[in-house]
Structure formats: C-alpha cells, structure tokens
Symmetry: C2
Subunit: 151 residues, 2 copies
C-alpha cells in the first residue's frame, strides 16, 4: 500500500517545528470532530454556541460571538439556526433597545444533555483509550491553547 518509501528522489526526514506539528494536529482533529455526524441536523458550530449559552447563561449576540471567537455576523446565522431548531430564543434587552438577549430554551437544555454527549462520544472514546497521564497532558494543553487562541 505505502508507495512513498519505494520512490527514488524522496525527501529526507525532517524534524517539523512545534508550530507545524501543533497546527497539523489541530487542523486534523478539527476535521475529525466536524466529520462526526449524528442524525440530527445540528452542526458543530451550533452545538458549540449552544453549549456556551448553556454553561454561561443568557447573553447578547455580541457577547456570545466574543466568547466563541467569531465575528458578530457569523454568530447571527448560528443564533438564527438555533432559534429555528427551537433550542434558543431571543428577547429584547430590558434597557438597551439595540441589544438582545439570547437564551437556551427547555428543548435546548434537553438537547445539550442528550445529543451533545452523543456528539462527543467519538472524542470520549478516543480519550478513554489514553492513559491518565496523557489525559492530564491534554487537559493542560486545552487550557494553554484556549489562552493562546482566546486573545
């Protein structure tokens, strides 16, 4: 099956930089995560935003966009999709007419508890195959990465 090794003119082995290895790892895992399909039509981006609302409570679209690290226009579409699914709802801001408050509905809460866990089953299985020390490394890495990406 592997052909590369048999071809003359092959590159020598390199020692890729940490940046290269981390980038590749992140890009790949991201692809895998997106590829995990449940039969529901809710996408990873939507789940991510919904989880954020679930964990942090009601907030404005702008705050949600900031937390997820996307631009406000991108979040608008995500919120609209969640609203269409009946998992989130918008209500007017009590004092500022420009803003709105987005919150999780009861259906949204049920969905987070059930489907989101299902969605993360693939990753959970992978994590379960690791030993405790490796999970600890990933836990610390998640925190470091989040800090790097966060700002």
């Amino acid at each position: 099956m592997r052909y590369a090794n048999d071809v003359s003119g092959r590159e020598e082995e390199h020692e890729p930089s940490l940046a290269s290895r981390l980038r590749l790892a992140v890009v790949r895992l991201n692809r895998r995560l997106r590829a995990q399909r449940t039969d529901s039509s809710v996408t990873l981006t939507q789940i991510s935003a919904l989880s954020c609302l679930y964990n942090w409570g009601p907030m404005t679209p702008g705050e949600l966009a900031a937390k997820e690290g996307v631009q406000p226009p991108s979040m608008t579409r995500v919120i609209a999709a969640l609203e269409e699914h009946g998992f989130a709802s918008r209500r007017p801001h009590p004092t500022d007419g420009r803003q709105a408050i987005v919150e999780v509905t009861q259906a949204g809460r049920d969905f987070v508890r059930a489907e989101v866990c299902a969605r993360e089953r693939w990753l959970d299985r992978r994590l379960a195959d690791l030993d405790e020390e490796e999970r600890e490394v990933l836990s610390r890495a998640a925190e470091i990465i989040d800090r790097m990406a966060g700002q």
Copy 2:
C-alpha cells in the same frame, strides 16, 4: 459590559468535561489559524497537503487524502490548486494506470521553506510567549492529538 451575570434564571456553573474543553480549544485555534492571512493565495489546506508531501515524499492522491484525513475528491481539488501554483506535479504511476504520483516541485520546496514559516509566524509568536514547560506540554499534546485523529 457583561450582562449575563445580571440576568435571572441563569444556569449554574458547570465543570465542562475534558472532551468539551479540548473540542472548544481545537475549534478556536483552528479558526485563528485559518484567519491568518499571508498575501499569497495559498490556503491553509493547500499548505497542509504540501507540507505532507514535503515531509513524506511522493505519494498517490489517495494516500495523501488518507494522511490528511479527507476524502479523495477533496484532495483532488487541493492537488489541482497546488499544481496550478507550480508547487506540485503529477506523473503517471509506473505500474498501475489508474493511479498517479504527486510530488513537490523545486518551487514547492522553496515555498515550504519560506512562506510556510511566514504563515506560522503568528503561531510562533504565541508559542514564544509561553514558558518552556508549557511548550513541552503542547509538544506532547500535538503528538497525542495526532495519534487520536490519525486513525
């Protein structure tokens, strides 16, 4: 600015699982990486595939797709773009008429050494802000993640 804390009916704080935290970190860093634009018209996906060819040597489109974790049709377009840029070239497989061998051109090698580093400058800067122990954590995490995503 923060409004969520003031709203009644707020969720209690949860302790997100490792899967949740890792997913969010990966999704976010991935967004940041893709948002980094160099003036060149080569995308992150193309760079990723080109780096793969550079590091592993010539291989068939199918093998490259498998290594990158995408479906063959997706890789076809990436290879076409790389070929158009003059960074990769296709030649017929010596024994199997169905397959082809994709390899990096000299221009592609030069590009990997120069532009890819430029592309990774943002990440490099972030990594430089960490201490040695944190970089070691990320280095180990990159290896673990790659193993999880790889298969």
